[in-house]
Symmetry: C2
Subunit: 266 residues, 2 copies
Amino acid sequence: MDGIVGLRSNAGVEQRRRIRSGSFTGPTAGLAAGNVQANLVILPRSYANDFLRFAVANPKPCPILAVSEPGDPRFPTLGEDLDIRTDLPRYRVWRDGVMVEEPVDVSHVWQDDLVSFAIGCSFSFEEALVEDGIEIRHIACGSNVPMYRTNIPCVSAGVFHGPLVVSMRPLKPADAIRAVQITSRFPSVHGAPVHLGLPAAIGIADINKPDYGDAVPIGADELPVFWACGVTPQAVIAQAKPPFCITHAPGCMLITDLRNTKLAAL
Amino acid sequence: MDGIVGLRSNAGVEQRRRIRSGSFTGPTAGLAAGNVQANLVILPRSYANDFLRFAVANPKPCPILAVSEPGDPRFPTLGEDLDIRTDLPRYRVWRDGVMVEEPVDVSHVWQDDLVSFAIGCSFSFEEALVEDGIEIRHIACGSNVPMYRTNIPCVSAGVFHGPLVVSMRPLKPADAIRAVQITSRFPSVHGAPVHLGLPAAIGIADINKPDYGDAVPIGADELPVFWACGVTPQAVIAQAKPPFCITHAPGCMLITDLRNTKLAAL
């Protein structure tokens, strides 16, 4: 029973149970349509405090939706019957900054000092743009969104530091203006763009060579529009090399029970 | 007693009385700071209905703040003791589309069938931008804002038709994004920009040759940002050539008792 905009639906819990059972291990785009999906970062308590300070200081790339109690695999504000160890289709396990495993369940590496962070994801604001009739190029192309390291430094916190990573969507100028209005309503999923139109001004030498994801065509009547990106915290963690860390695997997000429309600030 | 933001102040009525007395005949920029200033169009009733339909169909260039009763020189919703025939520093009188006089008072040409339109003015949103720390180039240069005829047609109504005229302010990309957010809050004074970054896409062949106002320098790290402009209705009226019309003289606006902050939709 999904589709009643603004109401909590149980499509989220149904998808999580299906994933938990092991019958689905792919990307989550399009599942439980209208529900918020989240980036996942899990760190030992000794690193979690600095990471939380980093996220609070850099809310555009790292908008925190929820932080778990240490050792607790539940996220009661994000969904009922939610177990963070089993409910994502695929995870990445990192040791000393090196990815060592891509399991479909992390129960075997769970520790009592682990703190989980659910971080807002661009799926939510892309849904709002599409709803307004704006074409999202990488979706039209069936590819990953192009992402770029910028020359804009994040605010450091403890061992966590590094440049802002941005995602890019080409838009006609009037759609870019509309996209600023729409995404400004969603501060908990990256909010308004951070830049548009002049890639070199933020240290992007070649717009056709993204640092992550895939290049997409940009029309002569379009501007590249840049949003702060959830890859920023992943890049920062990879650089900090904590002894242990778990993240979602790319595209395999945490599906919550929250509705995207509920994230709108206005 | 001015300066209490959000409260009706009596700086407006004081300035209007000073102007009415004939002791001030210059531009109104900076007078009664924080008060809404308005473009003025006065038309015979037989043209006023079509013009109102034109304005309603084109709210971005023609945001109506108030329409008077036919023949009534007052605007009770805009200010106390306001006489539209005497309270602007300078007017333009038009006959058959030709400007015939630039008087400081229009009592001598007043008719009982005249309808007055107060139309929102960019002074209000510029104040909000400056308040946020954004430099407005033409103010810094001490010149008029550059304005351009575009290839975007207005919606026609009766004899009133023509292209959208836009004003341009160069901004760094992050300031352009902030300016979209700020001016979106002020739909009654032109609202959000209509375009940015690609002048040719809206029919502007040379950004350094505005159709009205003065050219301003644009930095290599800046984008031209375009707002719908109150010159649009003036250009449309000039083209429609009504037998009789009164407008404000450029820069000599109607000072109201309303506060700019009160125009914010959010």
